[in-house]
Amino acid sequence: MTVKVGDRIPDWTLDRVTPERMRTVAAIFRDPNPVHWDREFSQRVGLAGRVVNQSPLNLGYVVNALLAWSGPESLRRLRVEFPAPVLDGDRVTAGGVVKAIRSQRGRVLAECEVWLDRDDGQRAVQGIAVVELPG
């Protein structure tokens, strides 16, 4: 695998974010926030009855893009923010671009700008990732 600055991480797309998966994740996380599983609550707080995807799940899509590109054990760091929510029914695409490559204690690390975009163009996750490249 030859990687250079400017290389794009191949896009990873989820065609439809589903409330069923959010409920599974809410149970595993023991997350009490009803915005993730209660449509009536979501209606009351102005989200038109659409439940809100958990932020770690949004981050999970970015992780999937990274691991598909650089390998299942490659992730070293992720630092991200969440400028916009993802709601059930959204289609999302994760991607990234290599910004720097450096060596550290015999390992080759790629620092990447990463993101998750909704289909309406809104950026839902943005940040940096560091992955170790195969030797």
């Binding site: 989820l14 998966r21 599974t24 994740v25 595993i28 996380f29 023991r30 997350d31 009490p32 926030n33 009803p34 915005v35 609550f41 707080v45 932020s55 770690p56 799940l57 981050l59 999970g60 899509y61 992780v63 999937n64 691991l67 299942p72 054990e73 992730l75 070293r76 760091r77 992720l78 630092r79 991200v80 923010e81 969440f82 940040g127």
Partner: protein, 147 residues
């Protein structure tokens, strides 16, 4: 509900009880499936576990963190950032130890009277012999809207 800045700043340095956590294979299966990915090979746990494993493993829950910050409601909490460091991949069926606590607090008053308390937490995930496997640093906002 008025929460004084002093009460919030008193949380800085507070350590969580600590404890252990084992990622069960069924949990890894369900959580990985929820991300839309195929299961990772050789017992690797999906990195998304670094959200809830440190919290549960350190002996608290998300609801406890809400209560600690005196969150006005579950829906009053938003996330600022996550900073996840992996020194080794997480694996299912291994028991990890956790230690951590509240690292920082910042209060931001808004012109309309809303106050945002932002708490930064840091939790380390350790394997046998105290080997550092991962570190989760994250900051949550607690919104206190003017009445």
């Amino acid at each position: 509900m008025v929460v004084s800045e002093g009460e919030m700043r008193a949380l800085i340095g507070q350590a969580f009880p600590g404890g252990t956590y084992r990622i069960e294979p069924w949990e890894n299966f369900l959580l990985t499936e929820a991300t839309g990915a195929d299961r990772l090979p050789e017992g690797l746990a999906h990195p998304i576990h670094l959200f809830h494993v440190p919290i549960a493993g350190v002996g608290v829950g998300i609801a406890d963190l809400f209560a600690l910050a005196q969150a006005p409601s579950d829906a009053s909490v938003t996330i600022d950032y996550y900073d996840w460091e992996f020194f080794e991949p997480l694996r299912e069926s291994l028991r990890y130890a956790m230690r951590g606590g509240v690292r920082d607090h910042e209060r931001t008053p808004h012109a309309d009277g809303t106050i945002v308390d932002s708490l930064t937490y840091c939790i380390e995930v350790l394997a046998e012999s105290d080997r550092l496997v991962a570190r989760a640093t994250f900051r949550w906002h607690f919104w206190r809207f003017a009445e």
